[in-house]
Structures are given as C-alpha cells and as structure tokens.
Subunit: 284 residues, 4 copies
C-alpha cells in the first residue's frame, strides 16, 4: 500500500496518450500494476484512463512527480489527479434513524475492504449515537427543521471543514441543498432505495409494490442539484414476487442497499470512478 500511486486522467482522445503516460511512469522508475482506459467515442471522443503503479518512496517523490507530469497534462489538455494509496481518505457519514447502511460500512472497514478514516457521523436524529460511540467515532446530532435547513447545513459544513474528503449519505432522509452540494462536487454518494430512474422521489418500495414489479433494486449515485438524478455509480437488484408486501420489499431492499452502497464507496476510495457529464466511468 505504501508504494502505490494512482493517476486518473480525462482528456480529448488522440493517438499517443497511453504511450506518453506509460513512458513517463517508466522513466520515474514506476511499475504499472493496473491500467484501464476508455474512449467515449471512437472519433472525437473523450479519453479516460486510470493507472495504478508501484513506486518505491512514492511519498517523498509525490510533489516532484506532480511537477514533472504537469507539462504532459497540459500537452494533452488533461484533467488529471494523482493520489497515493497511503493517504487514507476521510469520510463523513450522514445517517438518520435506519442503521443498516451505516452498519455495513462499519463492518467493511473492520474487515479491511473499505479503507478509510471515518472522521464523523452526522445525523438529524440521535438514534444511532450509541452505535457510533461504541466504535469510537464522533457523532453529531444536528436536527434539520424545514425552515432552517440552511442553518443546519452551515453547521454541518463547519464541522466538516478541512476534515472530510467524501460524504456518504447512508440513508440520510433529507434532501441536501445545491448550496451544500457545491462544497463537495462529485464527493457526495447517496444510496437510493430503488432501481433509478424508476421510482425516484419518496416511498420507492410502496411505488414498487403498487406497480407490481418483479425485481426491486437500489442505486448508488453522486448527489447533484437534481434530486435522484446524479451520475449513477452502481445498481443492484433482487427478484421479488407477488408474495411480498411493502414491508418485505423494504427488508429485502435493505440488503441490496447495503451491498450497492458499500461497493460505490469502496470504488470511490480506490479512485476508480471518473464522472463524465451525468455518467460515471467505473474502472473496477
């Protein structure tokens, strides 16, 4: 882990990008461990790349590599980002009253699947405080009143300032404002309990029940100003039948939510996701 670096790149496609990037890394003494690429369109499209490489003493060399890579980035009009696996990302997890999504994240961290520093848990209710405390994670109860949502969000933003790299809405039952989202563009992952775009909005299990679908699902997506319409990161489904009432749909759905959210968060933490317009490229 201590020697692993990752570069994420997007730029206009043209010949020579892979050659230039791989030559650069070779010259720095790095060994490419994984390399993935994608072009949105064979002609005139956007090129996306993720390179994971191994390099001894990468922490010391980080600034130098960035400086040396910059001209290459300019030459190809790249948006690029270098990150080190050793720099553990910091999470804020937002919850409400339901614990299942939070529990899964805690458990995955414990098992080593999800490598992150959970800086804090923020909730509009105190229900899950004990759970957080047991795990030694700071828990902040910030009630959200309809008329004073911005005030609550200001408190949240202040608490997180300089301490958080990714926000996870783990069944946080509040709509966050565009003003809030602007502080964390493509850095807020939400789990929606339906197979989006079906059943956007409230009460998706009731909607699913009434529509009589034979599969229910969950969707992890980046939060944008358009409710439930941000870039989809991952989706999962489970088969259901006429035997299931809304309670059972909800119960089954919770297991899909857990799995789907955990995958999306882990992929983000491992720098596997590039956002492109309203879509994601997931190199997994």
């Amino acid at each position: 882990m201590n020697e692993i670096g990752r570069i994420l790149i997007s730029c206009p496609d043209r010949p020579g990008i892979v050659a230039a990037v791989s030559k650069f890394l070779f010259e720095q003494g790095a060994n490419i461990v994984h390399s993935d690429q994608h072009t949105s369109d064979p002609t005139g499209g956007t090129f996306f790349m993720r390179v994971e490489f191994q390099l001894a003493n990468i922490e010391e060399k980080e600034e130098k590599i960035k400086a040396l890579f910059a001209p290459l980035g300019d030459q190809f009009n790249m948006e690029w980002h270098l990150s080190l696996a050793s720099k553990i990302k910091r999470l804020a997890i937002f919850v409400s009253k339901e614990e299942h999504a939070l529990l899964e994240l805690l458990w995955r961290r414990r098992s080593g699947d999800l490598v992150a520093d959970i800086a804090m848990i923020i909730s509009n209710h105190a229900d899950l405080k004990q759970l957080a405390t047991k795990e030694g994670i700071p828990f902040h109860t910030i009630p959200v009143h309809k008329d004073e949502k911005e005030k609550a969000e200001d408190r949240q933003i202040a608490l997180m300032a300089g301490k958080v790299d990714l926000i996870v809405l783990a069944r946080y039952m509040q709509i966050v404002t565009p003003r809030f989202i602007k502080h964390y563009p493509n850095k807020i992952i939400n789990i929606h309990h339906s197979f989006l775009p079906a059943f956007a909005g409230g009460n998706p299990y009731l909607q699913a029940y009434e529509r009589g679908v034979k599969l229910i699902g969950a969707t992890a997506h980046y939060v944008t100003a358009d409710l439930d319409a941000g870039p989809i990161v991952e989706q999962g489904i489970e088969r259901v039948s006429h035997r299931y009432g809304t309670d059972e749909l909800k119960r089954i759905g919770q297991y899909i939510e857990r799995i789907v959210l955990a995958k999306a968060v882990i992929w983000h933490l491992e720098d596997r996701i590039l956002v492109y317009g309203n879509k994601t490229i997931v190199f997994n």
Copy 2:
C-alpha cells in the same frame, strides 16, 4: 398431459375455500398435483388459487365438472376458470422487422417448452415472411399507416376471429388501440425493452445509455390502454458498464427480451397467471 386439468380461482378470502376445493376434486376422483394460493391481504383480502390435478378421462368429464363446480364458485363468489392441458392454446404472434423474439418463441415450441399452436404471424412488414413460411406458419402482412390504424386493426381482428387465444407482441413496433385491446383483455402479452417503469415509451436503450444505468432490463406485460403500464408478468436484467454503446445495449437487451418474453408466454399457456388490478400473481 391428457389427464391434466387446472383451475384458476380468485375470490374474497374467508376460511374454508381450500377445504371446499380440495374436497370437491377428491370427490371427482382427481389427484392434486400442484396447488398454489395467495392472499392479497391477511384480513379482507382477495384469495387466489391455482390447482393442477390429474383425472382420468378428463376430456369427457369436463362439462360435468364445470356444472358441478359452479355452485361452489357461487357460494364463495369466485371468478374461476377450468382449463385442460390437452386443449392446446392458439397464438397469434405480431412482429415487425426484428426477428429475435419470434425466433425464441419458435425455438421453444420446437424444444417442447412452449406448448401452443401458432395459428398465424401478423406483421406490418414483410421482412419475416420467409422465416414464418419455412416453419409452415401462415404469415399476414398488414401495413399500418398512421391515419388508417383502425382499418389495419380491423383486418387483424377479422383474421384472428375464433382462431386465437393469446396475442404475443414479439417486438411489434406499433401501439395498439384501446379498441383492439378490448377484444383480448389480459390476452395480449408485450415485451418492452426496458426495466419498466424506467424508460417507458420509445428508444429505451438510448434513454438507458444517456442515463448511464449499470443494469439494463426487459419487461413482459399484459397490454392495457395505458401505454407500457399494464400488469407486469416478468422482468429480467443484465449488468452493463460504461464500455457499452447503444448498439451493444440493444444487442444485450435482445437476449433479455427473448428469455423474459418466452417465460411470460409459457406461464400464460400453463395457466399460471392471475391478473389482479394492475398486478399479476404468477404461480410458478
């Protein structure tokens, strides 16, 4: 097959229905092979039942059984339907230019999965005529012009009169009118190439591509006057990624469509489906 009968029942739930039906069948000398039931709600709900039974010389006894069962049906306010497996159902398959859904149905019939008599294939184009002819199935080309849709439907209805028990829209790219549907209530199965209710309407693969979903699907449903909103019979999905363009989504989707449509048609032919409001009970 020659000795198999099936009763489909729906009625207000109350104690004693199963006892009465099973006692009735026992008294006729029938042996219950399968029995499924479902109650929409534990209190005051609707009760659904499907019984498959074996009875020697059932064909001769059919009318007598119906007459004897009628008072029981009245007593419990049942809607009920008795069918004999030996009475092969007759299909009309509607197609347009794409062959994949039709091919699957033909193949399933050939393999013995789908037991039906394909009375005719009707299309607004002549493209698949040769395919039908090879199989010895009557093929009728009935062009559908925007302004004369009802006229075309009249011709279709005339062709099918007295000859068709189930209509399958196997990628028939026309919207059928409520007038047409009234002739075949809950007897028209359509395959929609999306995971309904997501991407109803036209071009679902393009819609799916633009929304950046990670799973695509197909939905078989009974056709009602509301476009793409009829009772869902079956749904299937397949995982996709950013690597897939609309052409590949379409190609993958075709395999889901094939499987999902074939399942729905087979279940209908085996009297496994009960429609309840805008939902289906599928005893499979």
Copy 3:
C-alpha cells in the same frame, strides 16, 4: 405472530390428503394463510406439505389440535409436526475466529428478519467473546484438542442440553463427530465456503483459485456423518475473474456465506424445510 401455526407433513402420496388436512383445519376454525405442497414423483412418490394457518388462542388449543390431528396422521401414514410461531426457537451458534457469519446472524436478529433466541455462542477460541458479551449472549470457550474432541463435544452437549433447538455452525472450523450429530439430527446447519459438491473439504478458495473458476459460491447444508455431503438447503454464487487472488476470493466469498447462511437459518426457524433422503424441500 401469536395466532400462527404451521404443520409440516410428509407421507406416501395418494388422493385426498390436501382435502383431509384443509377440512381438518377448517373444522378447527383455522384460516389457511399459506399452503405449499410437493410430490417427489407423480406415481408412488412421497407427498410433502407445509400449511401455515391463523387460529385464535392457538396456544391454548395446541394440545387438543395435536390429539385431534393424530388419527388423520395415522390414516395417511404421515410424519407430521405442528409448531407455533409464538414458540421462539433457541439457537446455539458455533464459531471459531472469523466473525462475519456470526455478525450477519446477530444483525438479522436485530432487524427482525431472524426470529430466534440465541441461547449461547460456543467457540474453540476466545476471539469473539467480546462481541458476544456486548450483545448479552452467553459465550463459552471450549478448546478442541485433536485427541480429546469427544471430551470437548461432551461439554458442548452438556451445555446445550434442553436449551437448544438448532445449532448453527457459523464458520466453526472443526469437524463434528457422528456421535455429536446424532443428538441433533437435521438440526445442525453448516455454511461451507464453496459451491458444493465442488471443492468439498479444506481450503475451498485456494482450490477455486487453482481451478480457475469464473464463479465462486457458498453452500448451507444440514450436517450429516458424511463431511460436506449433507442435504443442501441453499446456495449462492458470485462472479469472479482472473483479477482475483485467493484473498479477494475469500473476501467476496464471505459476503456470499453471510447471505446464504442467514437464509437457511431463517427458513429453518420458519419451518420451511423438509429433509427427504439427502435432499431438502424448501417451501419459500
């Protein structure tokens, strides 16, 4: 819950069983909520049935119903079992060092999916003691030495005597002896971390890795004297690729194990499983 009863039946198939059982329940004033049946063979096979019914004051009537049902059972040569949903079953969970399977069971109990009284956790190691204690569950460390396995099992059996209805081997890494199994016939559920019968025995993930399979799985089964060969209750799989090493296979496998074991335990608790030779009938 307090009014729910379940009867599990197996007997030689012949006409009239369903009629007799449903008539009996009707006469007791019970309302059949679910009824499932299966025949192993259309002619001369074994008939299996599960009936779930609602009956006011069932607890008071339990003994009377049993007495009244007995002659019916004799008439049809039934093996039958009546259980009341209100009589919560008692579990002993056997673990070793890995926590994931135990955690899932604890969590499912918490969420209400798994209705059971966890009487005790037994382990050959002390690693998970703290976890059990936090939940208020008695934890017994009983080391198992190769030469004194029977002695250890005697202690286990003594601890459980009269207190346990079902044993769950939640990644208990010891082979239990036929002597032990005799105390709990078809009452011990194990989770094997492969898609049995592939990769029976030890190190299934290593075996899977070396064979280069494209799907890995887990199997929940009843424990019999034949190692890993008892009746299968449930299986699950997940897709893998050449990119996964044994560590990753193991990690992915743990999530399958969790889900599969939890399902099997819940089905047992809900009296949904009938064992028939070396197979199971699962009415779910």
Copy 4:
C-alpha cells in the same frame, strides 16, 4: 472492422512493457482503442496484455508490423500474437443429436454478434443435417464407433486440414483423444453441462438432481487431455428448486449452455482469451 488489429502478449513481468508496446503502436500511427493488462503476481509474475488498435490500411502493413514488433517481443521474452479483425476466423462445429447449442451459434452469427465463417459442421449422427443444409453449411456425418475412434478422428482431421481455426464442441457427445487435441491446442472449446468441477463426467443433470443442488450451471472450457479439466473460459448458473425433475433441469440447463458457449466462442473469436497454465485470462 477493416482497420482493427489486436495484439495478445504474455511475458515475464517487469517495468516498461506497457510503455514499449504503446510507444511502438504510436510510432506506427496506430490509435489504441482498448488496452487491458493483468499480472499473475505482483512480484516475479507473468504479465498479460491485450491491445486493440485502429490503423489505416492495416492489411497492407501487417507483415511489416510483425517484422518490426519481433525485436520488441524478443527483448521482453514475449509470446505474442497479432491478428486482424478483418481476417474472419473459421469454425468447425461438432454436434451430435441435440440442436440447441448449434442453433444459438447460428443465430448469433446471423445477428452479427458472432463474427465467423462456419466452415463445416461435423457430427456422428445425421440428425442435424437438414438444419445445416438450410443454412448452406457443409455437413459431414462421421459415425464414431468405439473401436475405431481414431479412424473417425483421422477423417475429421483430414476434412478440417487448412480450413479451420477453432473447433467448437456444441454438445458433441464424444470424448476426443489426446492425439486429436494435439492438432488444435487451446483451439477446441467444449460446453459441459455442469458447474465444473462439480459433476464432471457423464449425466451431470442426474448427478445434480441426486445431490439436490439449488443452482445448476454450465461451463465452457478448452479441451485438454484431462476430461472436463481444461482451462475454464466461462460459467453460468440458474437457480432451481426441489420442484424440478431431471428433465426440467436438463431443459433449464440447455439455456445456460447456449449462453455460456456463445460467450466463450465470441471471446475467442475476438482474441480476448489468454491461456495460462490451466486457467484463462479473459479480457472482456
């Protein structure tokens, strides 16, 4: 298609391979469309790579590119193979009496998914002759008698000489000899109707039925001298229950076989598979 080339590479891993290959292609004027790589082990492992590139007039340049790439291949101790998408691969499909696997391959070719020239169909029975003839494909009936298997294989080999790039055993119910296999190393794909390594050998559906598994599967693999033990290319499964007899398992299994075999053949045709020991790397 006419401008697409693909290079498959395996060699000892060391820094600089990706850089060298991508630089080479850039210098030839090629644009990399897809690039995938894998290392069997982070230290001292084998490196695998597949590059798909676009190059104008590639057919004229093929020999020149090979000559220029050879020194690079030597430098890194590569096994490498360049193929042109425009050079359609030639198949021999071996069948016996069952048609489902063959039908799927024919259909996929028709739909454009499977790009190949089906040079001939060889069978030990004449049952599928008409099907082949309708499609205009040469069909050879070569009976295989137990004592004269080698003689039959000699006839097969003679028929295929110089005309066949890949052999597909599409439910060809004969075991081929090591002598035969030597002519087509890693060029024979078989579909086995079980989830290997479970139920290797004959009658897998009966085996599956008797073991009471809850999922059945199919496996496409390269044929080696060890029966059913060659490198696995793809596997699929479907859920089954106690309700299914062996006939139904077989029927369901056929649909898995179709899908799994078609995938494996398509991947081979698109040069997506590298064999490594007894495993495959599939870049899909």
